[in-house]
């Protein structure tokens, strides 16, 4: 049987890869995808705990997290489209009007 730490380790690795993606990439869409990666990692750890504890509630949380991620993806992409329309770029280093 595979014990829990393995799953958690996998989740940790995926999470940190996602973090690096957010911090390193300049393309807004790639950044967004990295965030989705982080969300997935968390979902994985939740399901792992749910399986090892025999408790369904972990999976319910994932269910709802999934729904919210879907909604968030829709809105986030809409925003990116709107930004693109105004600035003709998705490079985040070039979008910095909201400053002091």
């Amino acid at each position: 049987m595979i014990s829990l730490p393995w799953f958690l380790g996998l989740s940790a690795v995926l999470f940190s890869i996602g973090t690096i993606g957010v911090l390193v990439r300049r393309n807004a869409i790639i950044m967004f995808m990295s965030v989705e990666l982080m969300l997935n990692a968390v979902n994985l750890s939740l399901v792992a705990f749910s399986a090892h504890l025999g408790d369904i509630h972990g999976q319910m949380l994932v269910f709802f997290a999934l729904c919210v991620a879907a909604a968030e993806a829709a809105v986030g992409l809409a925003i990116i489209i709107a930004i693109y329309r105004n600035n003709l770029t998705v490079d985040i280093t070039k979008i910095n009007l909201l400053r002091w």
């Binding site: 829990l4 996998l10 911090l23 390193v24 369904i56």
Partner: protein
Amino acid sequence: MLTYLFILLATFAVASAVATVLSRSTVTSALFLVLNMVTLAGVYLLLKAQYLAIIQILVYAGAIMVLFLFVIMLLNVGDEEPVWKQISIRLVAGFLLGTAVLAQLLYAVASYTDSLPMIATAMEDVGQVSAIGDVLYSHYLLPFMLTAILLTAAVIGALLIAQHRAQPKSRP
């Protein structure tokens, strides 16, 4: 047997994640992310969470990533330079910070290993669709309904923000 499967799936997951983050073309990134999600669905099956595995593929890989691809195509974003060609302080700092996060998380997992249980045998039934449906429509009825409203709001919001205008405004 299961261990072997797990290692296979885990490796695929990590590799596709790295590819997502590092690849030059945006479309490639998206496709690698799809692969990542499918492997994760496989891991869910290993954990006997059948319902979630299927949902993961249907919703995440099938709907959300498709949306991503639509947007990428719409915006016609060009390719970038490879990441390693853009070495800058931002890159280095980002990499270091990410690694620090990994270290912290691994430390947390490692120090509590003793108290972590094995997979429960009762999980066979718990991950079934019927079990999920049972709880979903009783305990979680209100969040369920609220999620419906949330998704409606998201759709309306996305429509409003992204709606097509007569001509796209150019930068002043």
